[in-house]
Amino acid sequence: MTDAGPLLEARRVFKGFFGNPVLKGVDIALRPGRVHALLGENGAGKSTLINLLSGALAPDKGAIAIDGQPISRLSPASARAAGIAVVQQELSLAGDLSIAENIGLGAYPRRFGLIDYAALARGVREVCDLVGLTEPLDMPVADLALGRRQMVEIAKALFRKPRVLILDEPTSSLSAHEAGVLGRLIATLRDRGVAILYISHRLNEVQALCSHVTVLKDGGVTADRSLAGVDGEGLVRLMVGRETGELFPPKPQQRVGKVRIDVEGFSAGLVRDARLAGRAGEIVGIGGLVGQGQEDLLLGLYGAIPAKADRAEIDGRSGLPVDVAAANAAGMVYVPADRKHEGLVLPHSIASNILLPSLGRLARGGLRDRRAEAGLVADLARQLMIKGDVARPVQALSGGNQQKVALAKWLPLDPGVLLLNDPTRGVDIETKREIYLMLRRFAAEGRLVILASSDTPELVHLCDRVLVLREGLVAAELSGPAITEAAIVGAAMGVEQGEGIGRKTVQ
C-alpha cells in the first residue's frame, strides 16, 4: 500500500432525494496507485456516491476533497479539470460520429480554432492501442458492438489523462477477452499512479484486480478495509443483512392450491430455458441483479414480448398468451415498474385510473354506469387503504400510494395471476408494509403473485419461493428456510455457496 495522501475523498457525505436518505455519512478515500473496489447491493447508494465524487451531484452535508483540499462546489467541469474521469454504465457516445470524434469530444485539440484532426488521430491512436481497439478511427460508433462501444467509452476517459478513474461496472457488456484487456490496463494505470475506483458485481474480478474495498449497505459504510484475506463469501456477508423489523406479514404454513402457472423451457428476451411453476396462494419472487431478465420473464408470460416455451399451462389451458388481451382474458395482469409512464395516467383522477380496465365491463347498453362505478371505486379505495378524495389527480399522491392505485385498477377483473415488477421501488416504508399485507391477502384469496424485486429482504421475508436469475438463466430456485439473503446475493453474483447455506439448483 502506498503512503501518498488520497487524490479524491468523500468526507462524511450525506445525500437524500425527496426526504429519502440515500447516503448517510459515507467516507471513501481514493489513493494513487491503488485499485479500490466499491461494493453494495442494488440501491445501496453506489451510483449516488459516484455522482458526488464526479461533481454530477452536490452532497447535502459533508465534503468532497481533492488532494486533501475540500471543494465547496464541485461541478462536472471542475472535476474533469482536476483529472477525475468516470466511465458510466450508460454510454455517453454519439452514434453517428466516428470513434475518434467521440473519444475527443469535449477535449478536442485545436489549431486556428478548428479541430486538429491530425493531433486528434495521434492522441486517439495512443489510447486505442492501450485498450486494444483496432477498428479504423473513422468508423461511426453506431457500427460497433456494445462491448466495443464500452471500450471506446473507456478510451474516452483515458484520452483526458485522468489521475482518478472511476469505472462503474465496466465489464457488464464486455467479452471475456475484452475484460482481460481491461484488467491488464487497470494494472498498468495503477502502476503509473492513477487512483482507480472499481464498481462491479463480479466478485472474482474484484478479488483479482482490487486491493482495497469499501462496502456500502443502506447508505452507510459497513467495511473499509484491505482485501487481503477476504474471500467471496466474506464479501457477500458484508453486503447483506439489515433490520427488517415488523415490515413483513408472517408467512402462512404452506397451503397448496391448484397449479396456476406451469411453464418449461421458457424463453423471452434475455430469459433462456426457464422453468417456472406457481400455485394458487403462493408468492413467487424473482430476484437477481438489475437487468438479468426479470422484466422479460414477466413480460413474456404476459404476452407483451415474443416468448416461447416447450410446454406451458396457465390455469388449466395450454399455451402462452399470444398478446396482452389474451393474458388479461386468462386472468393475468401486469403492474409495471415504471408506474409513472406505463401504469397510470398521472393527471387523471384516482377514480378514473382505477376504473380504466373496468369501464367496458361496468357499462350498460354502451353507456357508463356512474353508480356502479362509484360503488366500485369506494370499495377498492377502502380495501387498499387509499386515503382521501378519489377525485384528486393521481400525481398528487406519494409514490407508494400511486403504486397502490396501479395495483387496485386490476382487482375488479378478479385476476388469478398478478405479475408485479418491483412494486416497492421508491416507496416509503409504511406504504411498503401496506403493499406487503395486500400481496399476502391476494395470495390468501387464491391468487398467484409473481413478484420481481430488486430488494433482497423483500424476497426473503415475503416470498414463499424465489427464483434467482443471472444472465437470463435461473441460477437458483430457493424455497422455505433456504431463502436467505446470502443465498440470493450469492446466486445473483455467481458465487458458489458452500454446504449448509441451502442452495438448491433447478433440476
Binding site: A56, P76, E101, N102, L105, R122, K156
Partner: protein, 320 residues
C-alpha cells in the same frame, strides 16, 4: 479498410459519410438526368442559372431546418423568418443605409430572433416545436406590421445580380456550404451533432449543450432570413407572407435527405441533396403536366416513401 493514417483521419471520416449517401446521390443524379432530357435548356448558362435560383432559397431553408434537426430540435418559424427577411430587405434597402445596410439588417434580425428562440428553448427547457410555433405567429405579425401589403424596394441591379442570367446564386450556395464545412470542423460545430445524438453524454463530456443549442438556432435564423433576402431580390419587392410554404418544405427536404427526427442522425450534405431532389421533383412534375393538386399528393407520397423505404430496408437486412 486499414487503420486510417494519422494525416488522413478527416478525409476518411468524410469519405465514410459520403458512402452512406450513395443511394441518395444516385437518385438525385437520375432525376437531374431526367430533368435535362425533359428540359435541355438547363444545360445552358441561363437555364442553369434559373434552375439554381429556384433551388437556392429552398437549399438555404433546408440547411436552416437540418441544422436544428441534427441538434435534436425543429423549427416551425422558417417560413415567417423568410417573409420577415424579405420585408426587412425591401424596407431598408431603399433607405439611406443602402444595400449593405439592408443585408446587415437582415442578418442581424435573423441572428437575433434565432438566438432569442434558442435561449428560450435551451434555458427554459421548453419544447422547440411549441416555442417556434408561437414564434411563427409573432414573426408573421411583425412582418405584416412592417409591410402590410407587398411592396418596398429592392434595387434593380441587385435583382439582376442574384436572379439574372448568371449563376451567382449557385456560387453563393457553394460559399455557404464551404463556410458550413469549416464550421463543422470546429469543436462547436461538431458538438451540434454530438448534443443532438446524446445530450446527456455530451454534457458529461464537457460539451456546453445550452450554448450549442443557442448557436444552432441563431445560425438557422440567419440562413432563413438570408433566404428571404434572396426571395425579395428575386421578386423585386417584399411580401409579408411569401415564405409560408418554406416551413413544411424545409422539413420535407431535410427528411428526404435522410435527416432523422430524433437528433444527431443524418448529414447536412444529405439535407442539401434532399432539397435539390425536392426542387427537381417539383420541376419535373410541372413539366410532365401534373396539375398542382396532384403535385402536392405526389410530393407527400414520395416523402413518406423516402422515410419508409430506408427504414424497412434496414429492418429487412437486420432480420436476414
Amino acid at each position: 479498410m486499414n487503420r486510417a493514417s494519422s494525416s488522413g483521419l478527416y478525409g476518411a471520416i468524410q469519405r465514410r459519410r459520403n458512402r452512406g449517401l450513395v443511394g441518395l446521390y444516385l437518385v438525385v443524379a437520375a432525376f437531374l438526368v431526367l430533368y435535362a432530357v425533359l428540359f435541355p435548356g438547363i444545360l445552358t448558362i441561363g437555364g442553369f442559372s434559373k434552375f439554381t435560383q429556384n433551388w437556392f432559397p429552398l437549399a438555404l431553408v433546408t440547411m436552416a431546418q437540418a441544422l436544428l434537426m441534427l441538434n435534436g430540435g425543429i423549427t416551425l418559424a422558417i417560413g415567417p423568418l423568410v417573409s420577415l427577411g424579405a420585408v426587412i430587405a425591401a424596407t431598408t434597402m431603399g433607405s439611406a443605409f443602402g444595400v449593405p445596410g439592408g443585408i446587415l439588417a437582415v442578418v442581424a434580425v435573423g441572428l437575433g430572433i434565432g438566438a432569442v428562440t434558442g435561449a428560450i428553448v435551451a434555458l427554459l427547457r421548453l419544447p422547440a416545436i411549441i416555442v417556434t410555433l408561437a414564434g411563427s405567429f409573432i414573426i408573421t405579425g411583425v412582418a405584416l406590421i412592417l409591410l402590410p401589403r407587398p411592396g418596398g424596394f429592392v434595387p434593380g441591379w441587385l435583382s439582376t445580380l442574384l436572379a439574372g442570367h448568371t449563376p451567382v446564386a449557385f456560387l453563393l450556395l457553394l460559399v455557404i456550404l464551404g463556410l458550413w464545412k469549416i464550421f463543422l470542423a470546429t469543436p462547436l460545430g461538431l458538438a451540434i451533432y454530438a448534443a443532438g445524438d446524446n445530450p446527456v453524454g455530451a454534457f458529461r463530456s464537457g460539451v456546453p449543450i445550452e450554448r450549442v443549442k443557442i448557436v444552432s438556432f441563431a445560425l438557422s435564423g440567419v440562413l432563413a432570413a438570408l433566404a428571404g433576402l434572396f426571395v425579395a431580390a428575386q421578386t423585386g419587392s417584399g411580401d409579408p407572407i411569401i415564405g409560408a410554404p418554406f416551413t413544411l418544405n424545409s422539413i420535407a427536404a431535410a427528411v428526404l435527405g435522410g435527416v432523422g427526427f430524433l437528433g444527431g442522425k443524418g448529414t447536412m450534405r444529405g439535407a442539401v441533396c434532399g432539397s435539390l431532389l425536392l426542387s427537381v421533383m417539383i420541376n419535373v412534375m410541372f413539366f410532365l403536366g401534373f396539375p398542382p393538386v396532384a403535385q402536392y399528393v405526389a410530393q407527400g407520397l414520395i416523402i413518406v416513401g423516402a422515410v419508409a423505404v430506408p427504414a424497412h430496408l434496414a429492418l429487412w437486412r437486420a432480420a436476414r
